[in-house]
């Protein structure tokens, strides 16, 4: 799989970005970190909008920047779609002309994405003849995304495209971003400081702090690793799983999900059987038992697990990293840890009280 490699070292009057990025170019990679950690600057360096004096950047086999050879492709020569925090639509054009601005500027043989596709995915068919100032913030941002997509980019850079929107518009736009990744297969770099967006969208995370990459890896592994739990407001995450919808039990108001041969019940969902959904489990909703209950239990979600690592958080509580095919964290009391005599390598059963589906996160 092709990768994106970049090394930038840029000094600003009050800030120093010093990063080394190496990520596979598939799915959605989140650049995540607190405000002022250099996320936008990193994205601008990737686009060529900021020029790092000793920068190196390679996208697959294509070298976009190599300062040793004095090479730095300007943005307009890079096959990149860029969506800014603000929509930055052109006020003197209507929606259609905005959408077509980039489309007209690429050779016709390079056009892989059609206007119909973009209009369909983003749901902007009814806006085409409108003037820009007649659009809501969410609509403007959708047009901005569509405009970027119509250049058929090989890489999509999104700089907090939801930041300026209210929660309702955010919720409205998130599925579109997920869809464009699923349907168009364009790798996305997504800058955000909102953990909820990352948890819903990202496959992979690059964690930035004070201009440095402090970790980078698959979303689930990073946020369940005991080292990084507790950072960035992600401290309550137990697991993020991709599960397949196996069946609906309408008479009980339940939907059955499957992953890695294990099953989970969630409240009845309006999703079709076979579809893959992303579910979240809070670590405080996971409790551990040593043996599979012989007496019947009211708990529906019981998963077989192996203890991987135990970390004491404070005097009262510990985090237990489990392997259920994917990582799962249980937050339990220290008293329980001692009473049960839990140790790494041990087989246990995880009882899960609540499983949340993606869409419920933002609310």
């Amino acid at each position: 799989m092709s990768r994106l490699l970049a090394r930038f070292d840029v000094r600003f009057p009050a800030f120093h970005l010093d990063v080394d990025v190496d990520v596979p170019m598939s799915g959605i990679t989140a650049i995540f970190g607190p405000s002022g950690s250099g996320k936008t600057t990193l994205l601008r360096c990737l686009a060529g909008l900021e020029r790092a004096p000793h920068g190196i950047m390679q996208f697959g086999d294509d070298v976009w920047q190599d300062e040793k050879n004095d090479l730095c492709l300007p943005l307009f020569k890079r096959p990149v779609g860029y969506v800014f925090q603000e929509p930055r639509l052109f006020p003197h054009y209507n929606v259609r002309a905005n959408l077509l601005y980039g489309y007209k500027r690429i050779p016709s043989e390079e056009r892989r994405i059609t206007i119909e596709q973009v209009v369909d995915i983003l749901g902007i068919g009814h806006l085409l003849e409108r003037r820009i100032h007649k659009l809501s913030g969410g609509e403007q941002q959708r047009v901005a995304i569509g405009r970027a997509l119509l250049t058929s980019p090989k890489l999509l850079l999104l700089d907090e495209p939801l930041a300026s929107l209210d929660i309702q518009r955010k919720q409205e736009l998130l599925p579109f971003i997920r869809r464009l990744h699923e349907e168009l297969r364009i790798p996305v770099m997504y800058v955000s400081h909102a953990i909820a967006e990352i948890l819903q969208l990202a496959d992979r995370v690059v964690l930035l702090k004070e201009g440095k990459v402090i970790a980078s890896g698959a979303l689930n592994e990073l946020f369940t690793s005991l080292q990084f739990r507790g950072h960035f407001g992600a401290h309550r995450i137990g697991a993020i799983l991709e599960a397949r919808v196996a069946a609906h039990e309408a008479q009980y108001g339940l939907t059955q999900l499957e992953f890695n041969g294990q099953q989970l019940f969630v409240p009845l969902q309006s999703v079709t059987v076979g579809q893959v959904v992303r579910v979240h489990i809070l670590s405080s909703d996971v409790s551990l038992v040593l043996e599979k209950a012989i007496a019947p239990t009211s708990v529906l979600n019981i998963l077989e697990a192996t203890i991987v690592e135990i970390r004491e958080m404070d005097q009262a509580s510990v985090d237990v990293l489990l392997d259920i095919g994917v990582p799962l964290v249980a937050s339990i009391t220290r008293k329980s840890l001692v009473t049960l005599g839990l140790k790494p390598g041990q087989r246990v059963f995880a009882h899960i009280k609540t499983v949340a589906l993606n869409e419920e996160l933002m609310a």
Binding site: P74, R88, L89, P91, H92
Partner: protein, 224 residues
């Protein structure tokens, strides 16, 4: 217009030609300069800005005097052209370019500042080269600035007097413009003709400004 003589009409023609030429030259020279002023972080910026603004406060005679010296056969510009440009139409254009410069540069500069770099970056991200982005995005967004620059530059050149008299003299058909013609008529006690030309300039200026304001209102440029 029965009061206007052929001489008056030729002065009108010289005025219009002069103003048009001046505005064209200033748009070509002024666009990159205004762009630079709008976006540079150079320490030279205030110095250049003050220089551009000088004609607003300087007596036209001071400006006219130095331009006359520069254009003359021994001045740097005169030597460059290998002849005296003083008292010629070309000399008049050069003088007017300096004299009307702030009226073109300043509206352009503020239009570029208001547009900012954001739309430019957006255009680059949509595969537009620098020139393309400037022509298709920045100039339409800065259109009001261009309209103001053209109108103010044109009207100000039409109305200049001191510099024209110093640099151009008032040679009929060559350097005699409307404003100097009015002066000549008054000197010759031809009040009716002076009045006719003055009234014409008054109405003309008013109509030009009116047209601009109506156009701006009718076709607003929305900068969100």
């Amino acid at each position: 217009m029965g009061v206007l003589t052929d001489l008056d009409l030729s002065a009108l023609w010289v005025s219009v030609r002069l103003a048009t030429m001046t505005v064209i030259v200033l748009l070509i020279v002024g666009t990159p300069l205004a762009w630079w002023l709008a976006h540079t972080r150079s320490r030279l910026r205030p110095i250049i800005e003050s220089t551009v603004a000088l004609p607003i406060v300087l007596p036209p005679t001071v400006l006219g005097f130095y331009i006359l010296v520069a254009l003359g056969p021994y001045g740097p510009l005169g030597r460059l052209a290998d002849l005296s440009l003083a008292f010629t139409f070309t000399g008049l254009v050069i003088a007017s370019v300096f004299y009307s410069m702030p009226f073109v540069i300043q509206p352009l500069q503020s239009a570029f500042e208001a547009a900012g770099k954001a739309p430019l970056e957006a255009a680059w991200s949509l595969r537009a080269s620098k020139w393309d982005a400037f022509l298709t995005v920045i100039s339409p967004i800065a259109l009001r600035g261009y309209i103001s620059a053209i109108v103010l530059g044109f009207a100000h050149t039409m109305g200049e007097f001191g510099v024209v008299l110093m640099v151009g003299g008032s040679i009929p058909g060559q350097t005699r413009v409307l404003s100097t013609t009015i002066f000549e008529h008054v000197e010759a006690m031809e009040y009716a003709q002076a009045h006719a030309i003055s009234a014409f300039m008054l109405v003309f200026s008013f109509l030009v400004l009116l047209a601009v304001y109506i156009t701006n209102r009718r076709f607003p440029i929305h900068v969100s």
